[in-house]
Symmetry: C2
């Protein structure tokens, strides 16, 4: 499975926001994350970068 | 490996832009895609959505 972990970049630290992220949907004022289990999270953030081979999604405020 | 294919949504059609995408980096005026082979593409587009389990990245102008 190719789900990823989503991290929020805060200064020099990366805070783990959600594991096993499947779907990522940027919206008007933030971003929606949906895990492979169907859990949803909405964050007032945007995509900084993705590294799919590393299974990592980086978000920033 | 968890690379994905990147598609540009154009009307009802999805145009395959790049295969085997590893890194995705939104920039000021577009988006940079880097494949697992190191190929780079820059597109004047933004992320519509990602479906990691399906290995799909959808972009839109």
């Amino acid at each position: 499975m190719c789900e990823a972990n989503a991290y929020l970049i805060e200064g020099d630290e990366n805070e783990l926001i959600m594991e096993a992220v499947d779907r990522i949907e940027p919206e008007e004022d933030g971003i929606k994350l949906v895990s492979i289990f169907g859990d949803q999270k909405f964050l007032k953030a945007k995509i900084h970068s993705l590294s799919l081979v590393d299974h990592k999604v980086f978000l920033k405020k």
